[in-house]
């Protein structure tokens, strides 16, 4: 609604909206604050916390434990690896569904989406067993494969919708101009689809980074990404609020920033076109 509204009304809206926004954001804000405190200060009352000394010591402690960066690296490899692998498999599939649709295209697409709705717990044991047999338990490779499979439906779906926005006539023109399939994909489709491919990568890296079922159950010391690393704080020794805050802030910051840029992609990718 873009009508001229009284300034007073606008001020009221603004105040209310900011209040709600800050309340919702508060937990994140609070752990950012706590991450810059000592453990002793982190457990004191809020006012005391705010007025106490700011320090980087908790960040230092978390980083000194070398496993933090190992887990960070695992998260990066697993999130990026599964997404890029998914993109490689999905681009041809999305191309064919978007530009050479057949009677079965709709059915196949819907079936692919439905595989995402399979409850993970229902196939937990077989996958667990398979992983043991194949030596994939607690391996990054295994996790890359699993996360690629659970996000593949979304990657295919998103690429499909982005490809459909490319006018088919432009690809036909390329064909008339003498481009073979390779040239068509390389010189015309991909350059035009780059924003869509980037958006898809963005959303799926986020989803893979935050995945917390398979990453918790299929990993131990070696391949555990940040989700599992943070989970290990659930039965800690001694004071740990500041360390947990620091570790958490480092774990969620990249994704928070990426997430702020991917709101539109979120709607597109997770509502399967049912909401525009």
């Amino acid at each position: 609604m873009a009508r001229a509204v009284s300034n007073r009304r606008k001020m009221l809206n603004t105040a209310l909206a900011w209040l709600v926004g800050l309340v919702i954001f508060f937990p994140i804000l609070w752990i950012i604050v706590l991450s810059f405190k000592t453990e002793g200060d982190a457990i004191r009352t809020p006012l005391e916390v705010l007025s106490s000394v700011w320090t980087l010591e908790s960040y230092a402690v978390v980083q000194d434990r070398s496993d933090y960066f190992k887990h960070f690296t695992n998260s990066v490899i697993i999130a990026l690896g599964s997404t890029l692998l998914g993109i490689l498999v999905a681009i041809p599939a999305a191309w064919s569904m978007a530009f050479v649709p057949s009677k079965r295209t709709r059915g196949i697409l819907m079936w692919m989406l439905s595989t995402k709705m399979l409850p993970a717990v229902g196939v937990l044991y077989p996958i667990y067993l398979l992983f043991i047999e194949l030596g994939l338990l607690d391996s990054r490779t295994g996790l890359v494969v699993v996360l690629m499979l659970i996000n593949l439906p979304i990657i295919v779906w998103m690429l499909y919708t982005y490809f459909r926005e490319i006018p088919a006539e432009i690809l036909e023109a390329a064909r008339m101009d003498g481009a073979n399939l390779r040239s068509e994909l390389l010189y015309v489709l991909t350059p035009m689809a780059i924003p869509g491919i980037a958006s898809t990568i963005l959303l799926n890296v986020i989803l893979a980074w935050n995945e917390a079922f398979w990453t918790l159950n299929l990993t131990a010391a070696k391949a555990a990404p940040l989700t599992a690393f943070i989970a290990s704080y659930s039965s800690p020794e001694g004071l740990f609020y500041a360390k947990l805050s620091a570790a958490s802030v480092m774990a969620i910051m990249p994704i928070l920033i990426m997430g702020w840029f991917s709101q539109k992609q979120l709607v597109r990718g997770l509502t399967f076109g049912a909401v525009k």
Binding site: P167, A173, R175, M192
Partner: protein
């Protein structure tokens, strides 16, 4: 010389036959227009010629050789799409050069041909811009440039003027006709606008539901339409097609008379009627007259100075020399 021949070409989408078997011949250098209402199959036919769709049955011959199974790029044809289909991420120069690049032509020759095409179409100053920065008319010219540069056997135009506003359309019509005169290359042009067909074509192919109703020069179609469909489709405003007892007086099921061949008088004439809405164009006035003899109003053309008010009683007289007669199947009675 017959450049493009369609022999018993038919097209089915699933179970629906959109184009029953048809035959068509196009001479070298002709400007042929496929015209017809929406859904008549004209675009489909064009795409069959282009190779963007496979024929279900039949053959397409280009320069005497069977091209039915040959890929679009190798048929030696160039197409200008309705939406221009320019590559948005490439400059105008690269857009025009693209087909040459695909053909492996060396860079120097590419540049030369692009400059030439740009000159022909007044695009030289825009060569380094992107399509997004151009106006509709300019984009159209880039699309044409991309086609010209291939030096094709024939140009295929798919409703190229539909996306332009009315004023621009008239100008581009002239430019395309001019281009045809200059290049003397065969052009196949698809449109739903019969004005474009009449003004640009050497030969018009009227289509309805995939069937060719008539093929002929614009004036042939105007003066001797073979059936009521063509009679009613060609010419604006529409020919008056009348049935009932009046038609039987002329021993026909339906008679047709164009608005300019009806005389209108306040005093006497063959058919009595009452003036309804009148459309004043300045040079002409079109009166819509309601006659009790006929179920629909008749359109009559008169000079711009004639003044007749709503509800006035008038008499209409057809020019017998220009009266068309059609039988009960809608076919022309000579």
């Amino acid at each position: 010389m017959k450049q493009i021949q369609l022999q018993k070409v038919s097209k089915r989408f699933g179970d629906v036959e959109v184009i029953p078997p048809l035959d068509l011949e196009i001479e070298t250098g002709e400007f042929v227009v496929f015209v017809g209402p929406s859904g008549c199959g004209k675009s489909t036919l064009l795409r069959l010629v282009a190779g963007l769709e496979d024929v279900s049955e039949g053959q397409i011959l280009i320069n005497g050789k069977d091209a039915t199974a040959i890929a679009p790029a190798e048929r030696g044809l160039a197409m200008v799409f309705q939406s221009y289909a320019l590559y948005p991420h490439m400059s105008v120069r690269n857009n025009i050069a693209f087909p040459l690049r695909m053909a492996g032509i060396d860079k120097a020759e590419q540049a030369r041909r692009v400059e030439e095409a740009a000159q022909t179409l007044n695009l030289t100053e825009y060569l380094d811009r992107r399509p997004g920065q151009l106006s509709g008319g300019q984009r159209q010219r880039v699309a044409i440039g991309r086609a010209i540069v291939r030096e094709p056997t024939a140009f295929l135009f798919d409703e190229p003027l539909s996306n332009l506003d009315a004023a621009l359309r008239v100008g581009m019509r002239l430019e395309i006709s001019e281009l045809h005169k200059r290049l003397a290359t065969t052009m196949i042009y698809v449109t739903h606008d019969q004005v474009e067909a009449m003004t640009m074509a050497d030969k018009i192919v009227v289509l309805q539901a995939g069937v060719i109703e008539q093929v002929g020069s614009p004036l042939e179609l105007y003066h001797t339409p073979k059936n009521t469909f063509v009679a009613g489709f060609i010419g604006s405003p529409r020919m008056n097609l009348l049935g009932g007892s009046e038609a039987q007086k002329y021993s026909a099921h339906t008679i047709g008379i164009r608005p300019e061949h009806l005389g209108i008088s306040a005093d006497s004439g063959d058919w009595q009627g009452v003036v309804g809405v009148s459309e004043h164009l300045g040079s002409d006035t079109f009166f819509h007259v309601n006659c009790p003899d006929f179920s629909q109003p008749l359109t009559v053309r008169a000079s711009g100075e004639v003044e007749l008010g709503y509800g006035e009683k008038v008499y209409l007289t057809p020019d017998k020399a220009h009266l068309h007669k059609f039988d009960d199947k809608g076919l022309r009675i000579s």
